[in-house]
């Protein structure tokens, strides 16, 4: 293992290079990220054997990835923001065809108004398209998740596409330390790709993407997709443990910090988890019983494990970097509150929406959120469930 200074984009591009998949299809201009740019450079330099398909839109990028993966090739793409939105239609098809495509997503805001900065509206909007979703805090987790994604997606019990997220600019554009595996270690970890019923196996012809109507099996097909998601829970844990044996960095569905005796727990996802952890350490030094739960696996959602982990908390604050218009709260909030419905005693749960369109999340903002949760813990009435951090009035 060696240590390098790299951006989040560079780290993920490097992970993909070390895997050296058969095909990458990508839309080469904005809103694409440097991942596709760096990877195109690796291809041009002959550093990888990957066939690079430069397509004319993100819709085409996912379409080409579907065709390529169905043909029997280990296939990747990468996207962000509007590109993710344009892929929307095809994301469902990749998942329902059970194609183990992997895709790093640099999470960024959706228009409008036009904004290119960090936000989870893109990937959170795609939470029900049938892809496994893993969120990373920093470049290291982005790198690690991008590698593990292949093993999870291609596992015989799963066979679902996997998207791995890091925060746009905050992580994707920032330079930080990265522990890098050797190419051979990565190749050995991911192993050879074994396609299932590939189209190019002409001796055993199959139809992919056929019409499946009222008299057919569409409904059953959807049920099996959900069963695969349920099986993915164990596979994600197993792969995360094995990756930990290789690297010393084990992964599970979430990570906790100081929650054993915590009365107040903040739940966060992405880079904000680091900001919260830093504040938890500061507040702990003041004797406050505060903790953090950082979510990694959002789909499938680890309901039981999270409920067990949060069972001691009296008040929970859930941090969402995307809002859900007209809903009870942001996507992470609704999952957490639903998971805690069966907890006994049931904690009070509040939602903090922050960081939309790249708005910064400062230590003071987190301290303010904790102050509000402390009020609730002290029995004071807190009128609203949903609060906005670092938002301007009026």
């Amino acid at each position: 293992m060696s240590r390098k200074a790299m951006t989040g984009n560079g780290a993920i591009a490097l992970a993909l290079k070390q895997v050296d998949p058969d095909v990458m299809s990508a839309y080469p201009i904005t809103p694409q990220t440097e991942i596709a740019q760096n990877y195109a450079q690796f291809v041009a330099d002959g550093a990888v054997k990957t066939e690079y398909i430069a397509v004319e839109s993100e819709h085409s990028a996912m379409s080409a990835a579907i065709g390529s993966c169905a043909a029997g090739a280990r296939t990747i793409t990468a996207t962000s923001s509007q590109g993710f939105a344009l892929m929307w239609e095809m994301l469902f098809i990749a998942a329902s065809l059970r194609l183990p495509i992997t895709m790093p997503v640099i999470t960024r805001a959706l228009s409008g108004p036009i904004n290119i900065h960090c936000d989870h509206s893109d990937s959170m909007g795609g939470r029900d398209c049938g892809w496994i979703q893993l969120y990373g805090e920093d470049a290291q987790e982005g790198y690690d998740n991008a590698i593990q994604a292949f093993r999870i997606a291609e596992h015989a019990d799963v066979r679902l596409p996997v998207m791995t997220m890091i925060d746009g600019f905050i992580i994707s554009g920032a330079i930080g330390p990265l522990e890098v595996l050797q190419d051979a270690q990565v190749k050995q970890f991911v192993g050879e790709f074994e396609p299932l019923h590939p189209l190019l196996d002409v001796a055993n012809p199959v139809t992919v993407g056929a019409f499946d109507s009222l008299g057919g099996w569409y409904f059953e097909h959807k049920v099996t997709q959900n069963q695969a998601m349920a099986r993915a829970m164990q596979v994600i844990e197993d792969v995360g443990r094995e990756y930990g044996e290789l690297t010393g960095r084990p992964y599970s569905h979430f990570k906790t910090h100081m929650i054993e005796d915590a009365e107040i727990v903040l739940v966060a996802i992405g880079s904000a988890a680091g900001n919260v952890k830093t504040m938890v350490d500061k507040l702990r030094a003041q004797g406050k019983k505060v903790g953090l739960l950082k979510v990694r696996t959002f789909r499938p959602f680890p309901t039981e494990q999270i409920r067990a982990a949060l069972s001691g908390a009296r008040v929970i604050g859930v941090m969402d970097r995307s809002d859900s218009f007209g809903a009870q709260g942001g996507p992470l909030f609704t999952e957490i509150r639903s998971a805690m419905f069966e907890a006994e005693p049931r904690p009070q749960i509040f939602n903090f929406i922050y960081g939309l369109g790249g708005r910064d999340l400062f230590p003071d903002d987190i301290e303010g959120a904790v102050a509000l949760l402390e009020k609730a813990a002290a029995g004071e009435e807190v009128a609203q469930t949903r609060h906005y951090l670092n938002v301007r009035e009026g």
């Binding site: 900065h117 330079i175 930080g176 330390p177 904000a272 680091g274 952890k277 350490d281 400062f362």
Partner: protein, 190 residues
């Protein structure tokens, strides 16, 4: 509590502030420290004021928001002093290192930087006389090493040798080493 050195770089687009923030991170890496370097993300136009940030610590850094209260401010272009409040958010005792030919005390008085530790270094002249191009970032990193002591001069020189040595001739590498060394030697406080 974790001790983090927080640095804010002020420059104009094209003057190499992001490269300086990155080089500083690379030096920190070579010193087995933890680090973070990132620009203020926004539309970048050549010549327009820009900001970049570096954090350095002996422990992992897990805060990702912009630096609000930097302990060190580095100004690559003295004309920015009339355009940008470079000391915004800094506390008493904050260190300000400015690329300028002016005496640090005179400049501090003129710019109203009471309570700050102000240093100047003629980084553009040093860069012209050594590298032959007006890129003040290299001598400023030398000046930062001297004033802050966060890493030794030798550490910076080794890093410049390693990173530039891969791409450039011995002559270019030597010129950059001279630029760092002179930045280190010629920085002067008020």
């Amino acid at each position: 509590m974790q001790q983090v050195t927080e640095i804010r770089w002020h420059a104009r687009g094209g003057q190499g502030a992001v490269t300086a923030a990155k080089m500083t991170a690379e030096v920190a890496l070579s010193q087995d420290k933890y680090f973070q370097a990132f620009p203020e993300y926004g539309p970048e136009r050549s010549g327009a004021p820009i900001v970049a940030f570096t954090r350095i610590s002996d422990e992992p850094i897990q805060i990702y928001s912009a630096i609000e209260h930097p302990g060190y401010v580095l100004v690559l272009d003295p004309t920015l002093l009339d355009a940008v409040d470079v000391t915004a958010g800094t506390g008493n005792g904050a260190v300000v290192i400015i690329n300028s030919e002016e005496d640090a005390g005179a400049l501090a008085a003129r710019a109203g930087m009471e309570g700050k530790q102000v240093y100047t270094v003629p980084a553009t002249r040093i860069a012209l006389e050594t590298i032959g191009r007006a890129i003040p970032n290299t001598p400023l990193i030398g000046a930062l090493a001297k004033v802050s002591g966060i890493f030794p001069l030798e550490g910076v020189l080794d890093e410049v040798k390693t990173s530039l040595g891969k791409k450039f001739s011995d002559e270019v590498v030597g010129a950059n080493l001279d630029a760092v060394r002179r930045g280190y030697e010629e920085v002067a406080g008020s």
